[in-house]
């Protein structure tokens, strides 16, 4: 408790009174409530994943060893991976292991999951972070320009572009980018990943096309949302009229008043997107041969490595749950109405 209370601003006082005030703060209560709500969801996610994967017909141990293996070999492997136990028992073993940081051992490569994840998470994280930076970095100025003159030329062009961009599947976009920039023009590598330790320039160069394939649909989505929301604010809200009546310039109303309000909606959809976006890395990493988590998941699916698939599906879902949790908390921290408990 005291560790948490130290992080929160309190004006004065110490000891019991201060603790009481912090524990009673609406912000902390909200955060605790959200965290408590996320736990059963994570639990449900892992149970569902286990259940779905237990539906696979056939024996994974037999499938791995091939037709020539003796029954004893198969039985030994089944025991090694606990496949001879019942579903709930296996789930319990997995859960206790996972809570101690042990995610099991891959059935195909015999490496521990932790070491495989350790080598790969950074690639996926880099792809996702770069996609967010690029898409938001372009979407905000474009949406502001479009909302400044609704119905104007820039607005129309940007809306038609984003409408089309939203209808393009990311794998189609990826292939299109490869076709133009790698095959025809030869400016960028078509596939492959340059590790960041081999030079940041080469690393970024290998990430340009994958990042664009992820970022362009996102950019279209954010632009459409933000532009629509800002236009609604500019046309219907009293605080905008007040600001205008005070003589505040149009750009300033747009930026400091309308956009500031719209940014809350933007935060929400960014948070909702994180899960989907991380899921989308599966196909993008496959196309560009990036050694990330998504590629590992697909390898696991294709080699029927149940341990890999199960861990990664749970990790992907957990990222989505935690991202939503983070958004809820961020929302509470940023919104003064929630921060001070008045509604």
């Amino acid at each position: 408790m005291s560790a948490v209370s130290g992080l929160l601003p309190t004006r004065s006082g110490s000891g019991f009174g201060r603790l009481g005030r912090v524990a009673g703060s609406p912000l902390l209560r909200l955060i605790v409530k959200r965290v408590v709500m996320a736990i059963p969801i994570l639990f449900g996610v892992s149970v569902l994943t286990f259940w779905v994967l237990s539906l696979i017909p056939g024996d994974p141990a037999r499938a791995m060893l091939g037709m020539n293996a003796t029954d004893q070999q198969v039985e030994a492997l089944r025991q090694q991976y606990g496949l001879d136990k019942s579903g709930p028992a296996r789930y319990w073993d997995w859960l206790t292991g996972a809570l101690h940081g042990d995610l099991g051992i891959s059935m195909v490569s015999s490496q521990s999951m932790s070491s495989m994840l350790g080598a790969r998470w950074a690639v996926t994280a880099e792809l996702v972070v770069l996609s967010f930076i690029v898409s938001l970095g372009v979407a905000v100025p474009v949406a502001l320009l479009a909302a400044r003159w609704p119905g104007g030329l820039f607005d129309r062009v940007s809306m038609v572009c984003s409408m089309t961009g939203l209808a393009v599947a990311n794998y189609v976009l990826a292939l299109l980018l490869v076709l133009v920039f790698a095959v025809e023009l030869g400016w960028l590598p078509a596939i492959g990943y340059v590790h960041i330790s081999d030079g940041i320039g080469g690393n970024l160069k290998s990430m340009i096309l994958p990042t664009l394939a992820m970022a362009i649909p996102l950019f279209c989505f954010y632009t459409r949302f933000l532009r629509g929301d800002i236009v609604d604010q500019m046309q219907g809200e009293d605080y905008v009229d007040t600001a205008r009546a005070k003589g505040v310039g149009p750009w300033r109303v747009l930026w400091s008043h309308a956009f500031r309000n719209s940014s809350f909606g933007l935060i929400t959809i960014v948070g909702l997107n994180i899960g989907t976006l991380v899921g989308g890395t599966v196909i993008i990493e496959q196309i560009f041969a990036l050694p990330g988590l998504g590629q590992l998941l697909l390898q696991g699916v294709n080699t029927r490595d149940t341990v890999v698939v199960q861990d990664l599906v749970i990790i992907f879902a957990a990222i989505a749950v935690l991202a939503n949790l983070l958004v809820d908390v961020l929302y509470a921290v940023l919104d003064p109405r929630i921060r001070y408990g008045s509604h």
């Binding site: 449900g44 393009v168 599947a169 996102l218 989308g280 496959q286």
Partner: protein, 293 residues
């Protein structure tokens, strides 16, 4: 497209409402009927085309005829690396995609709509439990969950439908729930309850017709999402198994020889783009119309 999440689609605000001027009304009409006409056209071409038009079958082509360019005799769009007619594959692939899209959305509306409406109408503990279960399903990134389900069930058309329905149902259920909650406070609902109508009758005669427009416009948006995700699954080899065509596996096949024959990727990509664009526009305009914006 894949970035659109079911729940975030709700958040997106509609385009500026058309004015009351006659020109505005004409525009609103165009906005609905251009995408609707495109959708009808695509459906007609994909489902009637292969029987009406004189084109060869989608599979079983001759390898000797492989790699022919567009406008070659007998093959309007040429042939692929297996000697199959590209136009024929495009239409059959479209049939598969559209059939899967329609099935998934029908399942979503029927099951998800029922769950959402009943859950909101009954309320209480039942509602809380149902919503928490749906939260679990919604937590999965759609492609990841479908991958896991597709691996468990094995690639086939029926299993692809099941896998995709797994995330269509909770999305629809949430929308049905939130609109039923709003309906519950309406005077006509109270009137129906006071008349002593049984619950099933209220749900069927009063809730369903009022929730339907929202679900239908969402389903049009959902068609785009489902078709793109089905393409992704087939692209990864977990959707419709070869040699049966789908736009996804055609794009994958084309990718193998992309530098030599880029058109093999381009045709199914254009088909996918136009179809998804038409469904998206239709969905957005239906929503804008029915929500009275």
């Amino acid at each position: 497209m894949a970035v659109i999440d079911a729940s975030s689609a709700q958040l997106e605000s509609a385009v500026v409402a058309a004015g009351a001027k006659p020109r505005g009304r004409w525009r609103a009409w165009m906005r609905t009927w251009i995408p609707a006409g495109t959708v009808i056209f695509i459906l007609a071409v994909c489902f009637l085309g292969p029987t009406v038009l004189p084109i060869p079958g989608a599979t079983g082509g001759d390898v000797l005829e492989s790699g022919q360019g567009p406008f070659s005799p007998g093959h309007l769009l040429g042939t692929d690396s297996n000697g199959n007619d590209v136009l024929s594959r495009l239409l059959s692939g479209g049939q598969a995609s559209l059939l899967i899209g329609i099935s998934v959305n029908v399942i979503g509306i029927v099951i998800g709509g029922t769950i959402g409406a009943v859950s909101a109408y009954v309320g209480g503990l039942f509602d809380t439990i149902v919503m928490r279960l749906l939260d679990v399903l919604i937590a999965f990134p759609s492609l990841v969950l479908t991958l896991a389900v597709a691996q468990s069930l094995g690639p086939s058309k029926r299993n692809t439908i099941f896998a995709l329905a797994f995330f269509s149902v909770p999305a629809v259920a949430r929308i049905a729930r939130s609109s039923t909650l709003r309906l519950r406070e309406m005077p006509f609902m109270q009137a129906a309850q006071l008349c002593g109508s049984p619950t099933w009758r209220i749900l069927l005669r009063h809730v369903a017709p009022n929730v339907a427009p929202q679900l239908i416009s969402f389903a049009a948006l959902g068609m785009g999402i489902v078709i793109v995700t089905e393409g992704a699954l087939s692209f990864l080899g977990l959707g419709i198994p070869a040699p049966a065509p789908s736009w996804g596996n055609m794009i994958f096949d084309g990718q193998q020889s992309m530098s030599a024959t880029p058109l093999e990727v381009v045709w199914p990509s254009i088909a996918l783009l136009v179809t998804v664009l038409a469904f998206n526009q239709l969905g957005e305009n239906l929503r804008a119309r029915w929500s009275g914006r």
